[in-house]
Amino acid sequence: MTDLLDIQAARKRSVTAGDLSEATGPHAVIVGPGNLFAGLPGGEYAQAGLPPVGSPRRDWALSNTPYMESMWAAAIFKAISKQVALGFRIEDETDSALRIRRAQQIIIGYDGAYTTGLQRGLQDFLLTDFGMVLEVARVSNARGSRIAGLFHLDALRCMATGDPERPIVYQSLDGAYHLLSAEQVVRITDMPSPRGHMRGYGMCAASRAWPTILKLAAVEIYFREKITGSRNLAIHIINGISDQQLRDALSSSEEMRNARGFVLYKGSTLIPMIRPDAPAVVTIPLAEVPDGFDVDQERRDSYLRIANAIGVAVQDIQPLSGQGLGTGTQSVVLADAAEGYGLAAWRTAWEHVVTHFILPSSTTFHLATSNSREEQDKAAVLSTRAGAMKTLVEAGIVTAAQALNILVDSGDIDKAFLPQDVTEAGVVEDDEKVTMAAERPEPAEPLPPPAPQITAEKATPYEVESIIDRELAAAMEWVRLVVTDE
């Protein structure tokens, strides 16, 4: 882990220490001062009857929204697959192949396979207010022990304790409860609530898009039932026709339900009335779209709301079709703008978590975002900056070596080209780490070629007790040599 500020120690000096509760065991989420019953968030039901904010039942409902509406499911799929397809890059300041390989093994092995773990984690990030939960399994319970692997934890089986040193209780499928320390678990939540009693619950994309999901689902269901006639959508009272006449007119080879006084035909209830007036129809709608309802416009509005809720550019949900070049240009601008919000914030959080809480101090993790447009932008920036350096050198303001140092500092040129960085440790970005000179190990010398063939006879098993007994006298001699009088 990066040598970060000791947040736990700092929090004990903060007035928010009184907001915390100590989780002494998994039961802390059930009993004790900080338990779920005592610390339940406000019981306000959200719009359209979702369970209370910050409750597992609400997350259960939200996590099932992709099964409610297909466009929402497709939008979630697109958003997640785009992040998974990015890939990643691992860098080590000491160029240690061992560290890079070890880091790669840990990341690739996330929940068995990086793409699987990321898809599962992102679904929880987008579809639960609890957020994405990642277990950092270690080789022992000792603090600071080496990482064995990273695993996805089902957010619906996690409970927040309110204790920052032991933040989560996880219930495994065998029914056991596991109290996880801050070293064992990481949680990334979308829009974490600023309310102290919410224990880190946030507002996920599904929460933001819930009314739109309901509306889209209702529209789809209405049109499906209208087309298939699978539900009674209206009652039509027909004047001037007898029951038998109506039946004869509507008889068909499909199944008909025969009830007294009315006829059910393809989803509409028809009630014939014998009256001395001219034939007429009065319709009583049971379900219909309101007057002036423009389905296309409503859908476009819904897609925009979905895109905003997830935090992606709207053309990721609704590609352009049939529009002019001006719209295409706007699309590029919108896509660029989308890089500054929404899931871009998740990318930053993910990079921070992996870099600063999982990998060693000299190793950094980056999601790969390179594409041809970005490469062109980088080349343009390099060209501009190099031109500026040339001008400064020719004017005698800086030397060529100083110009090289400036280009290395700005990331345009690899630091390997710089013999000595005279501006070291001036600035560190959020996705970088500063490794002090004392921490950098000396590079290993190249190994010589393999030794000549070594012969061996068949190995005999060890007799441990005999070996120890035999070596005791020599061991006593060593003790005599190494024990001091301190």
Partner: protein, 191 residues
């Protein structure tokens, strides 16, 4: 007080000599037997020194151990046998790799030298054998592995006994810093 660096250097010298002999006409069987002897000797020395520092009775037991291994407390002897057995299991894997010829001379020497540092955890476990401590320096649970220079400082009290993980005057890995940050550790007696 034991100087663990000296103990490590004694083991290193013998390991270097045994490994050098391997490359000057020796065979793996002889090398393996010599390595097993050195490993047992070093861990036995660490255990005896640890027991001797524990108490006055421990000093007597440690002195008597030169005559019979049964002078050591049963728990310490069992722990010593377990540790040596584990180390020899690693040595078996090492010997198999040497026979396969996949390692260079320098790699073999470097890997053999690692066995010299493993006694630090053995000494700590023997020194503080009266208490149930959660881990020990050099037990492989921290990134510094057998190079750990940290120590325990157990302070018995009237109501409870507290153990402190002490960082020495060298640079530390994140694991040891994390262990030190969690001080103190309430510990119970092993009996």
């Amino acid at each position: 007080m034991i100087d663990l660096i000296k103990l490590q250097n004694l083991a290193l010298a013998d390991i270097a000599a045994a490994t050098e002999a391997l490359f000057t006409g020796g065979n793996v069987t002889t090398w393996r037997a010599n390595m097993a002897s050195i490993i047992a000797r070093q861990h036995a020395a660490a255990t005896i020194a640890g027991v001797g520092e524990r108490s006055f009775t421990g000093r007597i037991r440690a002195w008597l151990a030169r005559f019979t291994p049964r002078a050591l407390p049963a728990a310490d002897r069992n722990r010593l046998e377990r540790t040596v057995r584990d180390q020899l299991r690693y040595l078996e894997g090492f010997a198999a790799d040497v026979v396969r010829g996949e390692m260079s001379e320098a790699q073999i020497k470097a890997r053999a030298g690692l066995y010299a540092g493993a006694a630090r955890a053995t000494y700590s476990a023997a020194r503080w054998g009266d208490y149930l401590l959660p881990f020990h320096p050099g037990d492989g649970g921290t990134p510094c592995l057998v190079n750990c220079r940290c120590t325990w400082d157990v302070q018995p009290g009237d109501e409870e006994t507290l153990a402190y993980w002490r960082l020495s005057d060298v640079e530390h890995c994140e694991g040891c810093v994390s262990r030190a940050n969690a001080n103190p550790y309430p510990v119970r007696s092993a009996t």
